[in-house]
């Protein structure tokens, strides 16, 4: 097991297109790090550079204290689980899992012991003699993981391993992956575009966008303290609401955010100093749907009531998502399922502004 380090890593393709623009990332031993971001953000390229499947155009990659820029994949002591499993179709499950060990000339009894052990962990013992064709998607994914586990490598690399599974199996396999990591404790780098996967699996999440790292942090940190508008919008489901606003003087000498002519929200007292220097400037207010809910008379005294016309109602059982438009900007609120909300009707809402974020419109930086 080992730590992984990316230092000023660049990937430039022919024609000058930069997929990764000089990223720095330190991954500790035993850590489970998830690279997350939209398609084309450079997360898979970064993973493939760590694996040695893509050449590095600039910078350094270190694995276990050694620089591996020019080390071929087979000598990096890593194992990778691919999106399409990449199982050898002509080999049995046992042979698929044993292949790496056979190439490394492990003794036969040691190979059998390791494969049996991995198969037991992954609950695929009855499948060992089958060919990949005779396996379901979930079973294939387990075999792919087994192939990685038996090698006992320094680092596990996962490239969107659950993308080809249906929603139910994905949740199940997510738990399996977490369990496996808790058992073997191997340093893991996991790539996904699914922020729920990222949040549930990671010790730390790396949010990438346009070839750069937007923010690195624990799932909670990213959720509560996003550094940029991109991270704020990417992490959390449904996505955070963004409303243009102006910072101005409020009542009792405090600050307020003017969203529309009719909607002005008071800035919480503990944020007055932080937002004071932005007075008079156009900013972007960010508030998550879960912090925007139906107004109650018995609510906290500083919660401002805002009446908005309901556009769409999405009942989801334990909660109901209600969509509105505020000056043309789409807004989503999460309300109690017992709340009566009908499209076209006015619904009184309020926001927990202690959870709000204020961003610069030009840089997207959260202030």
């Amino acid at each position: 097991m080992a730590e992984v380090s990316c230092r000023k890593v660049v990937k430039e393709y022919d024609g000058g297109v930069q997929a990764v623009k000089g990223i720095d990332l330190e991954i500790a031993d035993h850590e489970f790090v998830v690279l997350v971001g939209p398609s084309g953000c450079g997360k898979s390229t970064t993973l493939r550079m760590i694996a040695g499947l893509e050449e590095i155009s600039g910078g350094e990659i270190w694995i276990g204290g050694d620089i591996v820029n020019d080390v071929p994949p087979r000598d990096r002591d890593i194992a990778m689980v691919f999106q399409n499993y990449a199982l050898y179709p002509h080999m049995s499950v046992f042979d698929n899992m044993a292949f790496g060990l056979k190439l490394r000339k492990f003794p036969k009894d040691e190979i059998k012991r390791r494969v049996d052990e991995a198969a037991r962990i992954l609950d695929i013992v009855p499948l060992l003699e089958r060919k990949p064709r005779a396996l379901s998607g979930g079973q294939r994914q387990r075999v792919a993981m087994g192939r990685a586990i038996v090698r006992n490598p320094k680092v596990f690399l996962f490239d969107e391993p659950l993308s080809n599974l249906d929603a139910k199996l994905r949740v199940q396999m997510r738990t399996e992956i977490k369990k496996v990591h808790q058992t073997v404790r191997t340093t893991t780098v996991y790539v996904t575009h699914d922020q729920v996967e990222a949040m549930t699996l990671a010790d730390r999440v790396v949010v990438m966008n346009g070839g750069i790292i937007e923010q690195v942090g624990s799932p909670q940190e990213l959720y509560h303290n996003p550094a940029t508008r991109f991270v704020a919008g990417f992490i959390g489901s449904p996505a955070m609401n963004f409303l243009p606003c102006r910072v101005q003087d409020g009542r009792n000498g405090g600050l307020a955010l003017r969203v529309t002519d009719k909607i002005t929200l008071p800035v919480p007292p503990d944020r007055q100093d932080r937002y004071g220097k932005y007075k008079g400037r156009e900013m972007v207010l960010g508030i998550r749907p879960e912090h925007l809910f139906e107004y109650h008379e018995q609510g906290k005294p500083n919660w401002t009531r805002v009446d908005l016309p309901v556009d769409v109602v999405e009942p989801m059982g334990m909660e109901t998502m209600v969509h509105f438009f505020v000056d043309g900007a789409p807004v989503c609120a999460r309300v109690d399922p017992a709340t009566h909300a009908e499209p076209g009707e006015m619904l009184p809402l309020t926001a927990d502004l202690n959870q709000m974020h204020l961003m610069e419109p030009d840089t997207g930086r959260v202030v």
């Binding site: 694996a51 040695g52 499947l53 071929p72 994949p73 087979r74 890593i78 194992a79 990778m80 691919f82 399409n84 990449a86 199982l87 050898y88 179709p89 002509h90 292949f99 790496g100 190439l103 490394r104 060919k131 990949p132 064709r133 192939r147 090698r151």
Partner: protein, 316 residues
């Protein structure tokens, strides 16, 4: 019955089965299987007329005496097996076909790999150039080769002379002539293998190579553990196909050596032509041409069975 629309009982009885027959005919014609059969019928008739009938007629001919007046059973085959010339023809045909197919498969595989690693546009150019031997009519290209092997005007001999070597009678000495016929067949057939293997190489998922690289495989191990197993079906089918066509090869030997010198380059087809057409013993010629049929048919059966099994095995 009194309204004038009634039908006599006898007429009704006769028209009901006719209507039922029409309806069942309509049902029969409307079935998918019937429609499929009708659409395939022209091809079935073509195959029956140009393949099945000649094949059975050849079998029938091979069992007649020289004058084609009496049935001799397998007598022609027994007669052929006793003749030294025919034993030589069997040896040469096997040598010609097996050596040529192995060489074509090997060169085709190497060329396909080289081609596979040439980037985009250049690959298309090279692919087009390397397909030229396969595209030129064989009789025409073999005539060109015949010129190049000519003892007096040979391009090869001219090159040898430039380096101070003596002339080589390319088509005049047994083993050299055998080598020449095989070489021309390899030259002609390699592009077919190359294009088939190139297609097979392109169909191997790149992720398998990446997985093998991470598993610790070097280039040779990737070839043996990923490429070859994934290409086994294409290799089997191309080798089988080529073996059949090479065993049946006529043009190259006929044009280059006409079976000589001293029958040392005859293959089944040229010998069958000599015996059947030139010497007028059509039943014996038919026997020669049919000699390899059972062996190749059994080989084809096992190869195709293996292909079907592996296809099921690796299909996702």
């Amino acid at each position: 019955m009194a309204d004038g629309t009634s039908v006599p009982v006898g007429v009704m009885q006769a028209s009901r089965p006719a209507a039922a027959r029409r309806s069942s005919m309509r049902r029969f014609a409307g079935r998918r299987s019937t429609m499929g059969f009708l659409l395939a019928l022209p091809l079935i008739l073509l195959v029956a007329g140009f393949v099945i009938y000649p094949a059975f007629y050849a079998i029938y001919l091979s069992m007649l005496n020289k004058k084609m007046t009496s049935f001799v059973g397998l007598g022609n085959f027994a007669f052929l097996l006793k003749r030294n010339t025919f034993q030589l023809v069997i040896f040469q045909s096997c040598l010609f076909a097996i050596t040529a197919v192995v060489m074509k498969a090997l060169l085709g595989f190497i060329l396909a790999h080289l081609m596979h690693n040439i980037p985009g546009k250049n690959q298309r150019i090279w692919r087009g150039l390397l397909l030229v031997p396969w595209v030129i009519p064989l009789a025409l290209s073999t005539l060109t080769w015949w010129w190049m092997f000519d003892p007096s005007y040979s391009a090869f001999n001219w090159i040898l002379n430039q380096f101070g070597f003596a002339n080589v009678p390319w088509l005049g000495v047994g083993w050299i002539a055998r080598f020449c016929t095989i070489a021309v067949n390899v030259w002609y057939g390699t592009p077919f293998f190359m294009i088939m293997y190139l297609a097979a190489l392109k169909s191997v998922p790149e992720q398998l190579y990446e997985a093998a690289a991470i598993d610790g495989a070097n280039a040779v191990q990737k070839l043996f553990f990923v490429t070859l197993p994934m290409m086994r079906n294409i290799i089997a089918i191309t080798v089988l196909f080529s073996l059949i066509t090479t065993f049946a090869d006529f043009d190259i030997v006929r044009i280059l050596t006409a079976g000589g010198p001293q029958d040392m380059t005859h293959v089944f087809a040229t010998y069958a032509f000599q015996v059947g057409i030139q010497s007028g013993d059509i039943p014996l010629g038919a026997s020669v041409s049919l000699f390899m049929f059972p062996i190749l048919a059994i080989a084809a059966f096992f190869v195709l069975r293996g292909v079907t099994r592996r296809t099921k095995e690796i299909a996702t």
